[in-house]
C-alpha cells in the first residue's frame, strides 16, 4: 500500500492485496478474465473444432453440437439480460420463431423450398422484428412488468404453435394448416450451402461452431463499442443514463432485437438439423435451462455464457450412466466439502465422520429392524460403486422412504446454510451428507431427467444467494 506516486489510489492497492490472498481457483479465473477475450475465444473454438477429429462416436459429436447450440442461445440471452439488464422471460419464443420460420419456408408445408441462404437470413430478420415488437410495449413498463409480459408472450407462442393447424380463413373452405399443431412440421430440407449438402451430425456441428464463432465476434465488437457502454450504463442506472443523453428506448429495442435475432438463427439451424419442429421444443424448461446457463456463467460475460452452456449441457449427459452419475455426485460432494471448509482437515474429518455414521446406521438398523432392509435396485458390482452400495442402507420401500428423506434433506440443507455455529453445523452436516447419499441412491439416480431439472432450479437459487455474478461475471454493487 505505497502512496509515493501522486494519483495512486489506496482502494486499488488494497483491492490488489485482497486479490492476491484469494485461493488458486479464484486467481486462475481472474487471470482468465484479464486475458484478451478474443484470444481465449479463439483457443476454445480451435479446441472445439478438433473434437470430431478425435472421435468417431456420433453421440459425442451430437453433444458437442448441442453445446454449440446452447452456447449460441446463451450468448443471445446474455445480450438482453447481461448487457442491457432486461429480464426477458419470453426468449424461447424467438428461438421458436426461428425454428418455425425455417420450417415454413424450407419444407413441403407450403411447397416453398427456399434454399437456406435465403430462408435463414429472412428468418433471422423476422425474429429480430418480433424482438422489436415485444420490446415496444416493454418500454412503458418497469422491469417486473416486462418479466410478466415477456413470459406471457412466450406462453402465447407455444399456444399458437399448438393450435394453428386449423386456421379458418374467410376466403377459403379448407382450414389452413400453419404450424402443424402438436405434431409439428416434419420433413424439412437440410441445409445446402456452398454446394454442400449438410446431412450428418459432424456437418451441423461445424456449422453451429462457425455460427457461434461469428456471433461471438460480432457481439464482442458491439459490446466494446459505444453501444455496449451505453447498455452497461442502462443496466446500472437507467435514469442516470437517460440524463446523460443515452437514447435508452432505442438501445433497449436494439438489445431485444439482437437477442431475438441470435435466437432466431439458432432456431433455424436447429430445426434444419433435426429436420422437424414441434411446439414442445420451446417450453419453460428450456427457458429455465438457458437462464441457469447464463446465470451460472455470469450475466454480462460472453465467456461466462459459453462456460455455463458447456457445463450445463455436458453434466446432464454425464449423469445418464448411473455409475458415472454416482461418481460425479459423490465426487462433487466430497470436493465441495473439502473446498468450503477452512481449515481443510475439518472437511476431511467431517467426511470420515459421515462414513462412520453410515456404518453405525447400517449396523444398528441391521441388528434392530432387519425386516426393513432390502437390496439396491441397480446393483453395482465394480469396486468403489459396490462399496458405496454396501455402505448404504436400502429400505424395503425405497420410493417412499427416499421421498421422505428427500424432503428432510432439503430442510436440513436450508438449515445448515443459515446456521453458523461450528459445532452445530458439524452436527447437522453429519446426517445431511449421509441422507444426501441415501436420497441419491434411492430417488435421484432413479430419475435422472427430474434430477437434472431440480439441479437447474437449485443452481438459480443458490447462485443468486451466494454468488450472483456467477463464474465470470463482475460483482455488482447496488447503490441504494
Amino acid at each position: 500500500m505505497s502512496l509515493d506516486k501522486i494519483g495512486q489510489d489506496e482502494w486499488v492497492e488494497q483491492r490488489n492485496a485482497r486479490a492476491a490472498q484469494r485461493g488458486p481457483l479464484a486467481r486462475a479465473l481472474a487471470r482468465l478474465e484479464q486475458a484478451n477475450p478474443l484470444l481465449v475465444a479463439g483457443v476454445l473454438l480451435l479446441l472445439a473444432a478438433l473434437v470430431p477429429l478425435t472421435t468417431s462416436n456420433d453421440y459425442i459429436i451430437r453433444v458437442a453440437g448441442n453445446v454449440c447450440l446452447f452456447g449460441l442461445l446463451a450468448l443471445g440471452l446474455n445480450v438482453v439480460v447481461g448487457y442491457a439488464g432486461l429480464l426477458d422471460l419470453g426468449y424461447v419464443a424467438f428461438y421458436g420463431i426461428g425454428g418455425y420460420g425455417y420450417a415454413m419456408l424450407s419444407s413441403s408445408q407450403f411447397g416453398l423450398h427456399l434454399p437456406a441462404w435465403i430462408s435463414i437470413p429472412l428468418v433471422v430478420a423476422v425474429a429480430a422484428l418480433f424482438g422489436l415488437l415485444l420490446g415496444l410495449p416493454s418500454l412503458r413498463l418497469t422491469g417486473d412488468y416486462l418479466a410478466i409480459v415477456s413470459l406471457g408472450f412466450g406462453q402465447i407462442f407455444v399456444l399458437l404453435a399448438n393450435s394453428m393447424d386449423k386456421v379458418n380463413l374467410p376466403w377459403s373452405e379448407a382450414p389452413l394448416n400453419l404450424t402443424g399443431g402438436p405434431n409439428g412440421i416434419t420433413d424439412l430440407d437440410p441445409i445446402h450451402i456452398f454446394g454442400m449438402r449438410l446431412t450428418s451430425v459432424t456437418h451441423y456441428f461445424y456449422l453451429l461452431l462457425l455460427a457461434l464463432a461469428l456471433i461471438w465476434l460480432v457481439l464482442h465488437h458491439i459490446n466494446s463499442s459505444r453501444v455496449g457502454r451505453a447498455w452497461r450504463a442502462i443496466r446500472e442506472d437507467t435514469l442516470a443514463a437517460e440524463t446523460m443523453g443515452i437514447p435508452v428506448r432505442r438501445l433497449k429495442l436494439l438489445a431485444f432485437a439482437i437477442g431475438a435475432g441470435v435466437a432466431g438463427l439458432s432456431g433455424s439451424i436447429y430445426t434444419a438439423w433435426q429436420t422437424a419442429v414441434f411446439p414442445s421444443n420451446f417450453d419453460v424448461t428450456l427457458l429455465i435451462t438457458l437462464y441457469a446457463m447464463v446465470v451460472l456463467g455470469g450475466a454480462g460475460s460472453q465467456l461466462g455464457a459459453i462456460a455455463g452452456a458447456l457445463l450445463l449441457s455436458v453434466i446432464p449427459e454425464l449423469l445418464r450412466g448411473p455409475d458415472t452419475a454416482r461418481l460425479l455426485f459423490s465426487g462433487g460432494i466430497v470436493a465441495m466439502t473439502l473446498l468450503l471448509t477452512r481449515p481443510r482437515w475439518r472437511g476431511a474429518a467431517l467426511l470420515a465422520a459421515v462414513l462412520v455414521f453410515g456404518l453405525l446406521v447400517k449396523l444398528v438398523l441391521g441388528a434392530l429392524l432387519p425386516d426393513l432392509l432390502g437390496a439396491p435396485a441397480q446393483p453395482a458390482s465394480a469396486g468403489l460403486a459396490g462399496l458405496a452400495q454396501r455402505w448404504l442402507v436400502f429400505p424395503q420401500n425405497p420410493t417412499l422412504v427416499g421421498n421422505i428423506a428427500f424432503v428432510l434433506v432439503i430442510g436440513l440443507l436450508m438449515l445448515v446454510s443459515r446456521v453458523h455455529a461450528p459445532r452445530l453445523r458439524f452436527g447437522l452436516l453429519l446426517p445431511t451428507l449421509y441422507l444426501l447419499a441415501f436420497v441419491w441412491e434411492t430417488r435421484l439416480a432413479a430419475e435422472p431427467s427430474v434430477t437434472r431439472l431440480l439441479f437447474f432450479g437449485a443452481i438459480l437459487v443458490l447462485l443468486m444467494t451466494y454468488r450472483p455474478h456467477g463464474l465470470f461475471g463482475k460483482p455488482r454493487v447496488e447503490v441504494v
Binding site: V81, G85, L87, L89, P137, R140, L141, T142, G143, D144, Y145, A147, I148, V149, L151, G152, F153, Q155, I156, L159, L160, S163, L239, V284, I288, Y291, A292, V295, N403, F406, V407, I410, M414, S417, R418, R443, L444, E447, V450, T451, L453, L454, F456, G457, A458, I459, L460, V461, M464, T465, P468, R476, E478, V480
Partner: protein
C-alpha cells in the same frame, strides 16, 4: 345471440368462481409486491402445494369406506391445514431465497424466485409423480346439490368456493385496515425505512405478510381442488400466471385492485371459454394484461408512479 343470453348466467357463475380463486392468489402477489417490490414467482407453486395438502387431508379423512368426520368438519380442516402448511412454506421460501437478496439488484430475487418455483414443481414431480390426482368432492358434497337461478345452476361446491373466498377477503380487509398489524404492513409498504424508524419490526411484518399471502394461496388451492377435482404438479404455473395477471391488472401492491383484477380475469376467462373456444383460453389473461397495461401502465387501480430523481 340467443345462445349467448342463455349461456350468460351460467358463464357468469363460472366466472365468479374462477374470479374468486384468482383474487385469492392475486392478493398474495399484491401483498408481497407492495412490501418488497418483488414478484414472487413461487406463489403459484405454494397454491399447488396447498391443493395437494387438501387432497391429502381429504384422502385421510374420507377414505372409500366412508367419512371419518362429518362434512362440515372435514372441509374446514382441509382449509386450515392447507393454509397453515402453505403459510409455513411461504415463510421458508422467503427466509431462504429472498431474505439474503434484500439489498441485491432487482433482477436477483426475480431469478431466485424462478429457480424456487422450478425446484418446487420438480420436487413434487419427483416425490409424488406426474399423475393427476382426483379430489373426491362427491364424497363430501353430492353433485346434485345446488341452487337453480333461472337458467343458471350453481352447484354447492361453487357456492362453497365463492363464499369461502369472500369470507377470507373480508378477513384480510379487516386485518389490513383495522388492526395494528395491518397498519404496520401498510407502513412498510409505503416506506420501509421510515416504518423501521417508527418502531415497526420490518422483518416480522415481512414474514407475516408472506405467511398470510401464502395461506390465501393454499386456501385457493384447496378450493380449486374441490371445484375442479384435478390436482397435479403443473397447476401452479398456469394459475400463478393468471393470479399474476390479475394482480397487475388491478394495480399491483393494491389489495382492492387484486380483488377487482381477479374478478375481471375470471369473468373474461369464462366468457372466452364459453363463447370462443374451450381449449384456447390460456392466452386471454395475457391479452387482457397487455391491453390494460398499454392503456394504464400501473393497472386499473394502481397509483401513478412518479419517478423520483
Amino acid at each position: 345471440m340467443d345462445a349467448f343470453f342463455n349461456q350468460l348466467p351460467q358463464q357468469l357463475v363460472n366466472g365468479l368462481t374462477l374470479g374468486a380463486v384468482y383474487a385469492l392468489i392475486a392478493l398474495g402477489y399484491s401483498m408481497v409486491y407492495g412490501i418488497l417490490q418483488l414478484l414472487n414467482f413461487a406463489h403459484g407453486d405454494v397454491y399447488m402445494i396447498g391443493a395437494f395438502v387438501g387432497y391429502g387431508v381429504l384422502t385421510v379423512l374420507a377414505p372409500r369406506s366412508g367419512l371419518l368426520l362429518p362434512v362440515w368438519a372435514i372441509i374446514p380442516i382441509m382449509l386450515l391445514v392447507a393454509m397453515l402448511l402453505s403459510g409455513l412454506l411461504g415463510i421458508l421460501i422467503e427466509w431462504f431465497a429472498y431474505r439474503p437478496l434484500r439489498n441485491a439488484p432487482r433482477i436477483a430475487p426475480l431469478i431466485s424466485a424462478l429457480g424456487v418455483s422450478f425446484f418446487i414443481q420438480n420436487a413434487v414431480l419427483l416425490t409424488l409423480s406426474a399423475s393427476y390426482r382426483t379430489v373426491r368432492t362427491e364424497a363430501l358434497l353430492s353433485p346434485r346439490l345446488g341452487i337453480d337461478l333461472g337458467p343458471a345452476r350453481i352447484s354447492a361446491v361453487r357456492i362453497l368456493v365463492i363464499a369461502t373466498a369472500i369470507v377470507l377477503m373480508f378477513a384480510l380487509d379487516h386485518l389490513v385496515r383495522r388492526t395494528r398489524l395491518g397498519r404496520s404492513m401498510r407502513a412498510v409498504a409505503i416506506d420501509r425505512e421510515a416504518a423501521a424508524m417508527m418502531g415497526v419490526d420490518v422483518d416480522r411484518v415481512i414474514v407475516t405478510t408472506f405467511f398470510i399471502g401464502s395461506a390465501l394461496a393454499g386456501a385457493a388451492g384447496v378450493l380449486i381442488g374441490l371445484a375442479f377435482t384435478q390436482v397435479w404438479h403443473l397447476m401452479g404455473f398456469t394459475a400463478g400466471l393468471k393470479g399474476f395477471t390479475a394482480a397487475v391488472v388491478g394495480g399491483i401492491g393494491n389489495i382492492p385492485g387484486a380483488m377487482l383484477g381477479g374478478l375481471l380475469l375470471g369473468l373474461a376467462e369464462s366468457q372466452a371459454v364459453g363463447f370462443i373456444s374451450p381449449t384456447n383460453n390460456d392466452q386471454n389473461p395475457i391479452v387482457v394484461l397487455v391491453l390494460v397495461l398499454l392503456v394504464r401502465p400501473t393497472g386499473l387501480l394502481g397509483a401513478r408512479i412518479q419517478q423520483k430523481v
